[in-house]
Symmetry: C2
Subunit: 144 residues, 2 copies
Amino acid sequence: MQQNKPNSEDVLTQCKKSGLRRTKALQCLVETLLTKDSPMTLAELAEHPDLADICDRATVFRLLQRLIEKGIIRRLGLHERAAYFTLLIPGRHQDFLICTSCGDIEPIKAACPVHALEKEIATKTGYANLYHELEFFGTCPQCC
Amino acid sequence: MQQNKPNSEDVLTQCKKSGLRRTKALQCLVETLLTKDSPMTLAELAEHPDLADICDRATVFRLLQRLIEKGIIRRLGLHERAAYFTLLIPGRHQDFLICTSCGDIEPIKAACPVHALEKEIATKTGYANLYHELEFFGTCPQCC
DNA sequence: ATACCTGCAAAGTCTTTGCCTTAGG
DNA sequence: CCTAAGGCAAAGACTTTGCAGGTAT
């Protein structure tokens, strides 16, 4: 089981296998997502210095769409107006702690206690492709 | 501990205590939220036959805002473009199972396994007013 | 060569606000 | 009577798409 952060080549290989072309924008997007380990919005990505210089926001948007289709990234809600995107890393699951005041998002280190329930739900309800999102919201120490 | 669904008078009393005026729109909004036990979007509420006849969408929006401020309802993400709103019922916590294909949302009956972790996070991180949202996503049997 | 990708600009969708009028307490 | 609440319409915020031209394979 691969627990550690993949490098961008791993992800780009996966992209190519899924039928995506290796464009400059795709490479840069993947690297940007890998650099930050918490989810990012479309705006954050499109305005990131590296990406802003080489492609349009619409391109980032369409890349994200394709990567979601291919199961390489996931779109998260996270309680904000804008959607967040995060790489799906095999063998890893992330839950988040979010400050409702300043909007800070940090991944939670502790083990996720939900997997048993997830299996139970899969069995009882007949839902397929089950996954979950768990977010904690509160006021962070700086905002208190 | 009050586990059962309150009636609209209970909620309206709470509203009045919080300083809200008892308007027709507020009464109707509360009743509409109580009728459906899963979260609703602004559009669903504003277009609901009962509410559509007596008030404008902006009114519903502003009522929802005030009710959130007063801690009477909560805004949820739920992975859709639109925000969802749900009454906060004392002593009750809801997690959701959401079909990524048809968008169906159903509350989960099983006990939520997250409360212990929530306490641990509160202690370790110093976050205040902590609460969480847990959603399961998958393809429902009808959509499979 | 050709199917996929991109930029630009415009259109959508949902939310939020301003301003003036109405009505609860 | 005085201030919160409501209606209407316009502006914002974020996302999504059409089309013409560019590029990886």
